[in-house]
Symmetry: C2
Subunit: 197 residues, 2 copies
Amino acid sequence: MEESGPSTRCRIMATASEFFHEIGYQKTTVADIARALKMSPANVYRFFDSKKAINEAVLERLIGEVEALVAGIADRSGLSPTERLVTAIEALHRHSMDRYERFPRIHEMVEAAMGESWEVCRHHVAGITAVFERIVREGIAAGEFEAEDPAVAAGCIHVGIIRYTHPLLVGQAMLPPVPSLDAMIAYLLRGLAPRKG
Amino acid sequence: MEESGPSTRCRIMATASEFFHEIGYQKTTVADIARALKMSPANVYRFFDSKKAINEAVLERLIGEVEALVAGIADRSGLSPTERLVTAIEALHRHSMDRYERFPRIHEMVEAAMGESWEVCRHHVAGITAVFERIVREGIAAGEFEAEDPAVAAGCIHVGIIRYTHPLLVGQAMLPPVPSLDAMIAYLLRGLAPRKG
């Protein structure tokens, strides 16, 4: 039984993830997940304390994918720090838009996490901001950027693009006219531009 | 009967506003509002087609207050354009925080509007952005700011502060560590700084 632990855990997460994406976090019950896996709810609870805990595990995995995407761009050789920052922001936006368009109910997972799984949210924001900070530092070293405190600058850039990347806001195409992402990136890059004179 | 129209409409809005603030938009019914006013639901429907229409009227009034607040700051003599922009952003943040702290359920009104009352949202964002644009233009005239397109710059600043002012995000104090509002304002102001050399 011990050996089957990790794989049962994975199967629960995979099935829960499908339910959360298709039916939504709110309407999915632990009983639904158990039934789809042909196991008892009690068995699901052996692996996860609560639906909240399953959501956290599912989100951690999704978040891991996004972080790997952004970190991969930060590592890409042949791109300048400016290009890497722009590409990373565009990738975050596109990833968030794609996911929202395919699974409009995904916002329920995010809302639940924002209400009760702060550690997951904090961890995610800190992870992406850390990648931005790395790019900012490399841009400073290369003479492309200037920032008194690279960590703060990275935090400002990350907060500044929230309208284009946050799962609760990105899908609001019907909502207010916002500047294009290109215009917003250009504006934020001005904040990193070396001062002359 | 005709004369009592505006005042009945106002009483409905005032009562609905109390319910939405205290009990929340979701749980409030038109019947609740009618009962509190000692009138029939049918009479409420004479003035508003739906709960959605009441919410829109209530939000329009709240939004009008915020816009007046910001426009008042933009008009304030004795402050430089930079000071007016900073003061306006700080006032928006404080107003949003205060309201959220006093009425945590207010986000339900906003969520409902984001889901079905886009015109209200668009109108609000355009209104505040227009005030920012006015300050940016005055700053350019005064030589304090530089921006190729003042409307775009104003839009970027407004989008850039969303984490600190949007009703769905401002209350998330438990959520990720974000730069202080001061740091964010400083970053955004760099985007308006005249280029030398």
